[in-house]
């Protein structure tokens, strides 16, 4: 269960999530400081540790479109936020899975900032509005990576399976 701390429209680009001018910062330990940097109030709340882990970002369609910069996934992952979006752009989706970011594809989600959401198997419950919304499964091809906890442990296992 988590509170919606940021409600976003459609086509939220990776430039919005992690502006290009911070791309020289790459390490997952360092990227969280620039999370949604140009949304100054939200960034300030994150930095002040005023946003508890498990809080939810709700977005319309095509979340994470644009650049392949992995910082866009690691910066959100670093704050342990959950992304519930109506749809997600391909590269961001793969980066998110590879890094173990908690993402939920929920094509009809309706929620406002402050609403309490609960992610359950196959659905998201908006506890504030009392409505339920069906989720789409993540690509089955990626399940092995999700199960392994991300692409690094999964690749490590695959590497060790080789003679």
């Amino acid at each position: 269960m988590g509170k919606v701390v940021l409600k976003l429209g459609k086509d939220i680009s990776t430039d919005d999530i992690y502006p290009g001018r911070f791309m020289a910062t790459v390490l997952p330990t360092e990227t969280p400081q620039f999370c949604f940097f140009d949304r100054t109030e939200f960034n300030a709340a994150l930095k002040a540790k005023a946003v508890p882990p498990g809080s939810v970002i709700v977005a319309d369609e095509n979340f994470g479109c644009g650049s392949s910069r992995e910082q866009a996934a690691s910066t959100i992952r670093g704050h342990e936020l959950v992304v519930v979006a109506r749809s997600i752009a391909r590269i961001f989706l793969q980066n998110a899975i590879n890094l173990g970011l908690n993402i939920v594809i929920c094509p009809t989600i309706e929620a406002e900032e402050g609403d309490e959401l609960e992610v359950a198997p196959g659905k998201v419950r908006n506890l504030t509005s009392g409505k339920e919304f069906a989720t789409e499964p993540l690509p089955p091809a990626r399940q092995a990576i999700i199960d392994a906890g991300g692409l690094i442990p999964y690749t490590r296992r695959r590497l060790l399976e080789r003679a």
């Binding site: 430039d15 290009g20 390490l27 650049s67 392949s68 992995e70 752009a89 590879n98 091809a141 060790l160």
Partner: protein, 430 residues
Amino acid sequence: MGMTVVEKILARAAGLPAVKAMDVVEPRVDLAMSHENATLVINQFKEIYEGTGREAKPWDPGRIAIIFDHRVPAEGPKTASNHKLVRGFVAQHGIAKFHDIRGDRGGICHQVLPEFGYVRPGSVVVGTDSHTTSHGALGAFSFGIGATEMASIWALGVALNIEVPPTIKVVVKGSFPKYVGPKDLILHIIGKLTAQGANFRVLEFHGETIRKMSTSGRLVLCNMSVEAGATSGIVPADDETERYLREGAGVTEKIERVLPDADAVYERVVEIDVAKLEPQIACPHTVDNVKPVGEVAGTAVHQVVIGSCTNGRLDDLATAAAILTGRKVADGTRMLVFPASARIYSQALEAGYLAEFMRAGAVVMNPGCGPCLGVHQGALGDGEVALATTNRNFKGRMGNPKSAVYLCSPAVAAASAVAGVITDPRTGGC
């Protein structure tokens, strides 16, 4: 059942007789490209090997390409130190396809790869850059990935758990009117499909207009396919592909053409006639917010940018230089030119285009991504408007969320630089 080009490429790369859309495959990778973000790839690559007792050595250094282009020369100590770290890795592992900050062989990755003959029809190309879609212009299956996925490929030599993407066939007919070209076509397509209309799909380009189009123009189409969400754009290889690889890239070995079957299965077919297409503009702040130039003509422009992996090639510079001949960049407007590679810079120098730009008042910068990603060189002030031949106009893209970016062709950019406002080159006194 017939296969599309990408299905054929993936079947072969995965060692399978046939594949169809949504099958899951693990194709071997022919070329793995990174730029400055090789810094993060190296970090993730080393992490994979932690605790394994194995030495962190890339599967095949000959198939790795690293090109510095995003922040060249370095804008500050952090980038400079990243460059240094990558140079050390390149030297340690003998990565030959490395393009440092140099005036003889440097440039933007999406121009360097084709011009050095690193990409072949039928190959599988991955890059830690979303515009890796560009290389489909040479008949390769080429797509963008993140740094950790690249680290995994450096370790294993295959792309893990790839779904074969469904393909949308785009058939283009008609001849372009004067001052209308590939950039206008792809902006029109993106406007039609929307920013997510091709998400997880391939755009396969066909038709008489494509067959007559130069590789330079095809690179524009494939480059911006990602702006409709596409995994990749692809132009099936033909005589022009072979001509480019022989004459432009100096390739001497046999070139194999991988072509779609006549009964290939497409998710849908999109048909476009360019005969009456007008110059197109992508308006702030999404690339699919596309309008004919007439609807935004007269908008004041503070900075015009000609360059990038989309439109920084010799034909783009030739078009712009011809429009600027005998004219001046308007007072109150800055014009920046970024050739896409060192080779193009030299060619434009010899052809006199760069002198023409400077005489007109434009500033000619070194090849690189420049202002397109808003890191350094050419940031915008609060409330300013840029008109650029680049590929993205997201809020904040040119370094300032309080500015606006419009996207257009080189002809529109040059005509607008002269007028100081967005201008239709067909009526702007060109």
